[in-house]
């Protein structure tokens, strides 16, 4: 006898679809105009891309286990967004350089996180929270006397616009799909990914099976912050402006997206597809509540409640499978 059980990413996507269809009945919803509906859906997915990319790094550190979390992700997003902004200065040929800077500054910050966690045995929560403070301080120093810069036209075209006028799919979504495939390759089809899951479940077993736990841990924190850095690059390409509080609002949704996507917060089990679905669900709920003109306080409450409900459902499923 097989109990009805459904994998978390599928559950999250189903939830998103149901919510979206229900939203059609709202007074200012899409009603029965299919074109408007598609346009709205596309827009929500496009908005989810930024959260989704920032949550990719979060997915990796959470899978790595042992209370793995990256609380510095938000401030890294702000920092690399500002760095991109001042590096590019509206010139197309500086974009690649800006991307490189974003990735390596992110990786460096993550590497320091990893050093503290691995060698000084500071808990990931404290280490990355402290790092978030340091990075915010850095941002203020850089920002002192205003930032002058500009996003390059090519960035706006690549990130915010559709592929071509005939195909109304924004490039951001295409970037995200490719990104999702690369994340799948990393997690499911690379030695690194397999070792990552292993250290998330049991580090003694991992070490005794030849996994270099220290190196894997350092790599995962570096990579996570590099991905947050990539997120910052994408965000500024979309908004076109930078400000000190740009990245911070992404931090808690990035953790929530991972959880809603069914990744075990204790580590060792999860997927990036789940996180993508989680990012879509969270973005959808936020935008629905905004359309319904709910105040920020209500939005926060609904998001928090959704997270609790989803996680408790997954918990129960695991319960009766054992």
């Amino acid at each position: 006898m097989r109990r009805f059980s459904i994998s978390p990413p599928v559950a999250a996507i189903l939830l998103a679809i149901v919510l979206f269809l229900l939203s059609g009945f709202l007074p200012n919803g899409f009603g029965n105009d299919i074109n408007v509906a598609i346009a709205q859906a596309t827009n929500i997915v496009r908005l989810a891309v930024f959260l989704g990319v920032i949550a990719a790094g979060q997915t990796l550190v959470i899978i790595s286990g042992f209370e793995g979390i990256d609380l510095s992700a938000g401030s890294v997003v702000t920092l690399t967004a500002i760095l991109t902004y001042v590096t590019v200065k509206g010139e197309d040929d500086k974009v690649l350089l800006a991307l490189l800077i974003s990735l390596s500054v992110g990786a460096l910050i993550g590497f320091i996180n990893g050093l503290g966690i691995t060698f000084l045995k500071i808990s990931p929560f404290v280490m990355t929270l402290g790092m978030s403070g340091v990075v915010t301080g850095l941002i203020i120093i850089i920002n002192h006397g205003n930032v002058s810069g500009k996003v390059a036209p090519i960035m706006t075209r690549l990130i915010a616009r559709p592929l071509s006028p005939d195909i109304p799919i924004p490039n951001a979504i295409i970037i995200w799909i490719i990104f999702g495939f690369l994340m799948w390759l990393l997690l499911e089809r690379s030695t690194f990914g397999k070792h990552l899951f292993a250290i998330g479940v049991n580090r003694v077993t991992a070490k005794l099976s030849g996994v270099n736990v220290t190196a894997t841990n350092l790599a995962v924190y570096s990579l996570a912050s590099a991905l947050a850095g990539f997120g910052g690059f994408l965000v500024v390409g979309n908004t076109g402006v930078v400000f000190i509080a740009l990245g911070q609002p992404f931090l808690f949704p990035s953790i929530a997206a991972v959880a809603v996507g069914g990744t075990l917060l204790s580590g060792g089990k999860g997927s990036y597809w789940g996180t993508m679905a989680g990012a879509i669900v969270l973005t959808l709920i936020t935008s629905l509540l905004t359309t319904m003109q709910m105040p920020d306080s209500v939005r926060r409450m609904v998001l928090g409640a959704t997270l609790l409900v989803m996680i408790s459902i997954y918990g129960r499923q695991r319960g009766f499978r054992q």
């Binding site: 397999k194 899951f197 077993t205 099976s209 030849g210 996994v211 075990l264 060792g268 089990k269 054992q322």
Partner: protein, 506 residues
């Protein structure tokens, strides 16, 4: 205060495993009874039954000739039974005084803890052992800062602070030095005169003869002999501990004639290996040899295997095929074609929530390139699971869905996939069903026929005698005896594990 405790026909099962089938023990005021037995004979279960840690399934406990039933250690403690545990029961981050008086702190009239009284009482207790430990053992010292011997002393003081009528010393001397043991024995004699009854569990034969008045021998869950210690010799005690009937028919890997030949190359050579628990181990393993490691549990067998595999640091020299190696990480040992099956499969050998496939391939993923060749990986894993006749619902099922024996097959299977030259096995048949055991024996024999070197630690003496050509017996971190050929008997094995010399060719 006179007291007597009798355990009659005690039965205790853990799941399907019978730990005690007929355990008996009598102890009364003013005497020390030694509880003796080989590995797995049930002596630790017996002491747990008496102090209420486990609830018995059958039989009777009589305290002062009245039947009693302990539902918890607290219940036993209320009746005046205290235990000095071998696996320490102290809270590491609390002070010595806090630990000793935990839940029984002396209080001031206003309900606050009276630190001054607690300190004085702790100092009075520490005075019992004064002069045998360093000055850093004070009532306010944090327990985690103490040495193992000092922790053991605190453990003893904690038990005696309850002023018990019956005191159980479960391997309490294992980490004490000789002066401390001497002092403990003086105290035991004093407690005896005060009318306490004492149960002494130890694996040191010499201590048993020094302190015990009577003995009770367990074998395979049954009490097989009780009596006055003056009326028995060391040799007879060992005879009693020795199992007569054998469960398995073993086939030895290679006729000993062949192995002892000079043509077999030495694969692994260890000289003066020293770690925290090992005190200078030297040994040689030839190609195709199945070398047994025996001895009671926790005599350094685990450290020996882990040190060879590069998991813990050591002093000394290790040579593989004549070349000096010094592994700092298991990865390096694996690259030299070593494999380790660790002793605790749940905590050290498996990724419980991951699939069988991933568990099989964990040490080998690097071989499968990028992107990983999953079809090939599945085929390889399938071949191994067929070779081991693994009972599973599929390769993608989590390891947690497997039975104990099948889970252990996965731990061994992940190494078979790499085809190592040398296997280090830490009690691989522990908690494994009889059929799977038989399959393991066949596998080990097969591997050594293929020329693989195997270091095989087992807590089951029959296995060692049945499978190995040569067995080294560890005691207190040293090789106490090397048994082979005619000297490889159960009597000699047990004698050597109990630290009795002349138990074989040293």
């Amino acid at each position: 205060m006179s007291v007597s405790l009798s355990a009659r026909n005690i039965v205790k099962r853990y799941g399907g495993v019978v730990a005690l089938s007929d355990g008996n023990l009598d102890v009364k005021s003013g005497e020390v009874v030694a509880l003796i037995g080989a590995n797995g004979s049930g002596k630790s279960t017996m002491s747990k039954v008496i102090n209420g840690v486990v609830v018995l399934d059958g039989g009777q406990l009589l305290l002062d000739d009245k039947p009693v039933r302990f539902s918890s250690p607290q219940a036993a403690r209320k009746m005046g039974i205290a235990t000095v545990f071998q696996e320490l029961s102290l809270v590491a981050k609390m002070t010595v005084a806090d630990n000793i008086w935990l839940t029984r702190e002396p209080l001031k009239p206003n309900g606050m803890i009276d630190r001054k009284v607690m300190r004085e009482q702790t100092e009075a207790l520490l005075d019992l052992f004064s002069g045998t430990f360093k000055a850093d053992l004070r009532p306010e010292t944090i327990v985690s800062d103490l040495h193992p011997d000092e922790k053991q002393i605190v453990e003893i003081l904690k038990a005696i602070s309850l002023n018990p009528r019956i005191l159980i010393l479960d391997e309490a001397t294992a980490s004490l030095d000789s002066r401390q043991v001497e002092r403990l024995f003086e105290l035991v004699r004093r407690w005896k005169e005060e009318g306490k009854a004492i149960v002494f569990v130890s694996h040191r034969m010499e201590e048993i003869f020094r302190i015990a008045d009577r003995y009770s021998v367990l074998r395979n869950g049954k009490t097989v002999g009780q009596g006055d210690i003056k009326e028995i010799t060391e040799k007879d005690l060992i005879q009693l501990m020795t199992e007569k009937e054998k469960v398995f028919q073993f086939t030895k890997a290679i006729a000993s004639e062949e192995t002892s030949g000079l043509d077999q190359q030495v694969y692994l050579e260890v000289e003066n290996l020293t770690t925290e628990t090992l005190r200078g181990i030297s040994l040689k393993v030839k190609q195709g040899e199945l070398l047994g490691i025996g001895g009671l549990q926790g005599q350094g067998q685990r450290d020996l295997l882990l040190a060879l595999f590069g998991d813990i640091p050591y002093h000394g020299t290790v040579r593989i095929k004549g070349e000096v190696v010094r592994f700092k990480h298991p990865r390096q040992a694996m690259d030299k074609k070593l494999a380790l099956v660790p002793g605790d499969r749940a905590r050290e050998g498996l990724l419980y929530i991951r699939s069988i496939l991933e568990n099989f391939l964990l040490p080998s993923w690097r071989k499968y390139g990028f992107p990983l060749k999953m079809k090939l990986a599945k085929r390889d894993a399938m071949a191994i699971s067929e070779r081991l006749s693994l009972v599973m619902s599929g390769l993608m099922a989590p390891v947690s869905s497997l039975s104990g024996g099948n889970a252990q097959k996965v731990v061994i299977g992940k190494w078979l996939l790499r085809d190592p030259d040398c296997y280090l096995l830490d009690d691989p048949t522990k908690g494994v069903d009889v059929n799977t055991k038989a399959e393991f024996y066949a596998l080990l024999t097969d591997l050594s026929r293929q020329g693989k070197s195997i270091l095989f630690y087992s807590s089951d003496d029959d296995e060692l005698i049945g499978l190995c050509d040569r067995v080294i017996v560890l005691h207190d971190g040293k090789i106490r005896a090397e048994l082979k050929g005619a000297s490889l008997t159960k009597e000699n094995l047990i004698a050597a594990s109990m630290g009795v010399s002349n138990g074989g060719e040293a």
